[in-house]
């Protein structure tokens, strides 16, 4: 459960996040939708305590990232925008490294990697060095290492970026499963189909502010449009930066 109230962050003159508030409940998939440069990544970075907010409040299961950074990092699974893997290590070693950083036992890591290899269908490449992996394989490893410690809350920045259709479908199934298991999932995206197909709850962000907030149905009703696409364009106020 994430609660964000009135979040502000600027870099010099640039107001990246300008008063964002939203909630993400357990068992739901929350989508942060907005054009490129809207402030989605900055918002996520403040959630996973990489950036301190200038103002505003964040609570993740009651914890504050500015004060309980270590505690929060233990409960979060993050697939950030940059998903660099160590190319001289195998996929398994990459995941194991993160498990060890989380202080998990060897046995627990081994078992967890078995499970993740099954769920994410990584059997073919789990013991190969990640040099030369396809985008789809990379995202899978990045997700697996983020999930190795069984986090309650999952944050994903543009998870389907660069994936082909099959990989995107598999990824969506996986995210739906997470929410069905009771995890709270927050993902950012600039792709409308993604939120339409996945999200229980949509937060539209533009120019660092929340333009609209609700289920797909609610957004349609509020905008008076027939299609989600028209609704987005109307709510954001421009078509700029949105990808169909």
């Amino acid at each position: 459960m994430i609660a964000v109230t009135n979040l502000f962050k600027s870099f010099g003159q640039v107001k990246a996040v300008n008063g964002v508030s939203f909630e993400a409940r357990d068992g739901e998939i929350t989508g942060l939708l907005g054009p490129n440069g809207a402030g989605k990544t900055t918002t996520l970075r403040m959630l996973y305590s990489l950036l301190p907010p200038d103002r505003g409040e964040i609570r993740i299961d009651g914890l504050d990232p500015t004060r309980d950074a270590m505690e929060i990092k233990r409960t979060l699974g993050v697939v950030p925008d940059s998903r660099g893997l160590y190319s001289r290590l195998t996929a398994r070693e990459n995941i194991k490294y993160y498990g060890e950083l989380h202080g998990m036992s060897k046995k627990a890591i081994r078992e967890r990697i078995e499970t993740l290899t099954q769920t994410l269908d990584m059997g073919d490449f789990i013991d190969r060095r990640t040099e030369g992996f396809s985008q789809g394989q990379r995202v899978k490893v990045a997700i697996a290492r983020a999930m190795v410690h069984k986090p309650q809350t999952v944050l994903m920045d543009e998870p389907s970026n660069g994936l082909d259709v099959m990989s995107t479908r598999a990824l969506r199934d996986y995210i739906r499963n997470l929410s069905a298991e009771g995890h709270s999932v927050v993902l950012s995206t600039h792709i409308m189909q993604e939120v339409a197909a996945l999200c229980d709850h949509i937060v539209i962000i533009a120019k660092g502010e929340v333009a609209a907030d609700g289920t797909a149905q609610e957004l349609l009703e509020r905008s008076g449009c027939d299609s989600l696409e028209d609704a987005f364009v109307q709510l954001i106020g421009s078509e700029e930066g949105l990808l169909a």
Partner: protein
């Protein structure tokens, strides 16, 4: 500390698989420098020998004015060449190192008992002509002395009266203390090895991680950043240390193949000497790792880091250059200066002088303190959010 050891283990494993890291840290320094050293020695010695044994071809202008001088030169093994058209040009174009010109007034002055003029035409700024110049001047001087003595004897004067002072050389240097080249060269090589051994690792674990976009996900793990940074620095130190140890071992293996008696050198690195040197130089590895990591972490990109490294490699050269230009006697206060003190100490160790324990302590402590300050700076630098996003 769990995070620290995890990071350390992972970096070691990853970099052992990296051919470039292995090449730079464990092969380049340990192989290149000792071979370079021995090669240089062979080259110097053979060049010296060749020059010493070579007969001197000497073009002479005006040989007819001084037949007895010419005979003397020929007796001493000089091959007299015919008079060239343009002697100055011949020397300038480096065809011959030296030309002798006997001036027309030579016979006249000679018979009057006045100094008879000869000219030695040469370009002493050319290294290779120094030996022939020295040789011809020594011959001329010797001839002059000989004739001078004869003239004095003819006038009934003892020639000894003209040599009021006799100089005798009493050489107290031992073969070891004569190993002057090694004394300058070995600390220089080791100092540079400490830096080259650390460079690749320092860049790969910080700037490289940023470039590959694996830094941000790494920092989301519940491990304090100073532990992550320290783990990385430790890896760099271990590689630099390994590089140093291998270089020393490699020197030990290579030294017996040195040209025999080159420069009167008797340099064998015993195990105790090796360990002493390693003890003295180890803090430099820590200093280098900390300094290079600090710079590489500060750089916005791998390229920027590389450009810093090019400059930093000059730092370990400074003390050696100072010593080459101006050899000084080791004193206590100098032991507080990192790099400088190691240079002096290794010199003393090679020369087999006994070194006060306090000097070891001062050198190690002062270098470690500065290394740890730099390390602490690097570790806190990782706490700045800006560090992660710059360059991405």
């Amino acid at each position: 500390m769990r995070g620290l050891t995890t990071v350390f283990n992972k970096e070691v494993r990853e970099n052992i698989r990296d051919r470039r890291a292995l090449f730079n840290s464990l092969l380049l320094g340990p192989l290149l420098f000792p071979l370079l050293f021995v090669g240089m020695m062979w080259f110097l010695e053979s060049a010296e020998k060749e020059r010493a044994e070579k007969t001197l071809d000497l073009p002479v202008i005006g040989a007819q004015y001084a037949p007895s001088l010419i005979r003397f030169l020929e007796q001493q093994g000089t091959v007299i060449q015919p008079e060239p058209d343009d002697p100055e040009e011949l020397v300038r174009s480096q065809e011959v190192p030296v030309v002798l010109r006997i001036l027309p007034e030579y016979p006249e002055k000679w018979s009057e008992g006045l100094p008879a003029p000869v000219e030695v035409i040469s370009d002493p700024s050319r290294q290779e002509s120094n030996a022939p110049i020295r040789k011809i001047k020594a011959l001329l001087y010797g001839y002059g002395q000989q004739i001078g003595s004869l003239r004095l004897q003819l006038r009934g004067v003892a020639p000894q009266l003209a040599s009021p002072i006799m100089i005798r050389d009493v050489d107290l240097s031992t073969p070891k203390s004569r190993a002057i080249l090694a004394v300058i060269f070995l600390p220089y090589v080791l100092m540079i090895t400490a830096f080259t051994g650390a460079t690749h690792l320092a860049m790969d674990t910080t700037a490289g991680e940023k470039e590959r976009k694996s830094l941000e996900p790494l920092l989301i793990n519940p491990v304090p950043r100073w532990q992550i940074m320290t783990g990385k620095m430790l890896t760099t130190m271990v590689f630099a240390m390994a590089s140093l140890a291998l270089t020393l071992v490699s020197f030990r293996i290579v030294l017996p193949y040195m040209p025999v008696g080159a420069f009167g050198m008797d340099l064998t690195l015993g195990l105790a000497t090796l360990l002493k040197i390693l003890l003295v130089i180890s803090p430099v590895a820590i200093l280098a790792a900390a300094l290079l990591t600090l710079l590489a972490a500060f750089a916005k990109s791998y390229r920027e880091a590389q450009s810093y490294m090019g400059l930093v490699i000059l730092i370990p050269m400074i003390p050696s250059l100072i010593f080459m230009a101006n050899p000084i006697k080791a004193e206590s206060w100098m032991m507080n200066i990192p790099l400088f003190s190691q240079n002096l100490l290794i010199g003393e160790i090679i020369r087999d002088e006994s070194v006060a324990l306090g000097w070891y302590g001062m050198s190690i402590a002062s270098t470690l303190v500065i290394g740890l300050i730099l390390a602490a700076m690097a570790a806190t630098l990782y706490n700045r959010p800006k560090l992660i996003f710059s360059g991405s």
